[in-house]
């Protein structure tokens, strides 16, 4: 007999779907089937069952081979490199629970580390823009029930947030949006005709890297001001038409992604997107929501925010919290050779940082805490596999609209495997011993 676990939270993307059903074996050790999840979410659950999963911490030997060690030995090594370093970088935190993040921050306070999360290569510029100009926002529930104009600017949920469109933004029938997709007008702004654009009423093919100009032109068009014939590769007629469609809506929501944060202009692109949103509020109701990537990157920003006052790039090396993206951000620190140890949890900079930064991690004393074998694990000196949060252990997570959701445990982790919070507590105890505070 198998058991069905319902209302399971998906620990993949910031949409944090909460309606998954997972069929598990009677002894609660094996996942048999995952229902309602997207292809990526289902794979995440099923991959936790892989027969070749690494289940013991390992240290890299001089010849490049790995040697199994105990969790206690791995914790000792992690504590040692963190305490010996003048400026250790503690990066990641986006694929773990808020509880583990808080434990990690206690370690960072003790060792004077820099705590940075994946926003640094994702929505960091959005956070900077929010400091600059604020953000008129709402929850995804309001989007589902009220929004009749949806803009996807520089994001492609068909690939990156596969169930976002069916749960919240395009297809669902909400309280005031009873006709589902027929009650909404969809606008996609992207330099490529993406799969999301194929679902749109209007695809605005902006020239790559010219988002600021186009956003600015839309603000002019709101006021019926004059425009050049073509702005950012888009004919002015289309800009006027799109701005009319936006102004005529009852509730406009702009979702934006890496297309604006990764392109030149960065935080200024988002300043302007937020300005478009606040301009729209003169005519109708409008909100703007960043499409957060990792399922709990928003949570990391929240926990850092309420503990230290800043959402990422928090430098504790002087004994108090400092924040200066460009100076205290992971890639800038690595590229300037400013850190002397690297501690990674719940992220894979080995894959997702520019390779020059990865080469710096390779030279440093380093620990990678990750259930998977990843390029980060490959360049680290110590690899500590832990239980999957949201699959093998529960914990608090924040959805992209800053709504906290408690993730659930579905199956037991392999025998003897620690969760990341348990491992972090071992490291913290070792750090306290070294610092003489225990």
């Amino acid at each position: 007999m198998s058991k069905l676990v319902t209302d399971v939270i998906c620990p993949f993307c910031g949409t944090l779907c909460d309606d998954l059903e997972v069929e598990v074996s009677d002894d609660g050790k094996q996942i048999l089937e995952v229902r309602n999840a997207c292809a990526i979410g289902a794979t995440k659950f099923l991959h936790s069952q892989a027969s070749d999963r690494i289940i013991r911490p390992r240290m890299k030997q001089d010849d490049g081979t790995w040697k199994d060690v105990s969790y206690a030995e791995a914790a000792k090594y992690a504590a040692k490199i963190l305490c010996e370093a003048k400026k250790p970088l503690m990066y990641g935190w986006s694929s773990t629970s808020c509880e583990a993040q808080a434990t990690g921050h206690m370690i960072a306070e003790q060792v004077g580390g820099i705590v940075d999360n994946t926003a640094t290569v994702c929505h960091g510029p959005s956070l900077i823009a929010v400091h600059d100009v604020g953000i008129p926002s709402c929850t995804l529930g309001e989007v589902k029930n009220r929004a009749d104009r949806i803009v996807f600017w520089g994001c492609n949920p068909a690939h990156a947030h596969p169930r976002h469109m069916s749960r919240y933004s395009i297809f669902p029938r909400g309280y005031f949006t009873g006709k589902g997709s027929k009650s909404r007008k969809i606008i996609v702004v992207d330099p490529r005709p993406t799969d999301t654009a194929s679902l749109a009423d209007y695809h605005v093919q902006v020239e790559q890297g010219r988002d600021y100009e186009l956003l600015n032109a839309i603000r002019v068009a709101f006021k019926n001001g004059p425009l050049p014939d073509v702005v950012a590769g888009v004919p002015k007629e289309k800009i006027y038409e799109v701005s009319r469609v936006l102004k005529s809506g009852r509730f406009v929501v702009i979702f934006f992604g890496m297309g604006v944060t990764h392109s030149l202009g960065k935080n200024h692109n988002i300043d302007e997107a937020i300005a478009v949103t606040s301009d729209l509020n003169a005519y109708t109701k409008a909100s703007i929501i960043p499409m957060r990537g990792h399922y709990n990157v928003t949570g990391s920003g929240q926990v850092l925010g309420w503990q230290f006052g800043f959402p990422f790039c928090v430098d504790l090396s002087r004994g108090f919290a400092r924040y200066n993206p460009g100076e205290t951000s992971s890639n800038d620190l690595l590229l300037r050779n400013e850190v002397d140890a690297c501690f990674v949890l719940g992220s894979d900079p080995g894959s997702h940082f520019p390779n020059k930064s990865v080469q710096e991690i390779y030279k440093l004393p380093s620990v990678c805490i990750d259930p998977h074998m990843t390029p980060t694990a490959a360049v680290s000196k110590c690899h500590v596999p832990v239980a999957f949060v949201g699959v093998e252990v529960g914990g608090s997570c924040y959805r992209m609209d800053n709504v906290p959701i408690e993730s659930r445990k579905v199956v037991d982790p392999p025998a003897g495997m620690l969760t990341d919070d348990e491992f972090l507590k071992l490291v913290l105890a070792e750090v306290m011993t070294i610092k003489g505070a225990a």
């Binding site: 993949f12 292809a39 990526i40 794979t43 995440k44 991959h47 892989a50 640094t120 290569v121 960091g124 510029p125 900077i128 492609n156 068909a158 690939h159 990156a160 596969p162 330099p191 490529r192 005709p193 993406t194 799969d195 654009a197 790559q208 890297g209 890496m258 297309g259 944060t261 990764h262 392109s263 030149l264 960065k266 990537g293 990422f312 993206p325 460009g326 100076e327 951000s329 992971s330 890639n331 800038d332 590229l335 894979d348 080995g350 894959s351 997702h352 940082f353 520019p354 390779n355 020059k356 930064s357 990865v358 080469q359 390779y362 998977h372 074998m373 990843t374 390029p375 490959a378 360049v379």
Partner: protein
């Protein structure tokens, strides 16, 4: 056989997400991300068959990937490598004091490299680190 200059952008694809969660050390991850999506007109300019290997080079590095026809096109003049170790060999590392490297909008050249092989993710990273 020619060399062409493109504007490179990177980002997620569903195949990148699925293969990443199935194990980044596996061949599927390389098949999903060790590619460059090119507009048919750019493939023609390069003078290659689709699905052949090419060398992508920027000011910041160089990488061998397989050139495939754009799945979300047309986008002449734009090259697309899914986010991952392959793209990150060539992306613009400048953060301009925002903390964010310029992952989209790197000027690259693409040239045929039929006799070269595409490396798996761990080999790409370790080789670049000198191991």
């Amino acid at each position: 056989m020619n060399t062409i200059t493109l504007n490179l952008i990177t980002g997620r694809t569903i195949q990148q997400g699925v293969s990443m969660e199935s194990g980044k050390e596996k061949p599927d991850y390389m098949k999903a991300c060790g590619i460059i999506e090119l507009d048919p007109s750019d493939i023609k300019k390069l003078g290659i068959w689709k699905n052949t290997n090419v060398r992508v080079t920027s000011e910041y590095g160089s990488i061998i990937v397989k050139a495939i026809e754009a799945t979300q096109g047309p986008h002449p003049g734009i090259g697309w490598i899914p986010m991952g170790p392959w793209a990150n060999m060539v992306v613009d590392i400048n953060t301009y004091s925002t903390g964010m490297p310029t992952f989209k909008g790197t000027k690259v050249t693409v040239e045929p490299a039929e006799n070269e092989t595409v490396l798996d993710s761990l080999s790409v990273v370790l080789k670049a680190c000198g191991q």
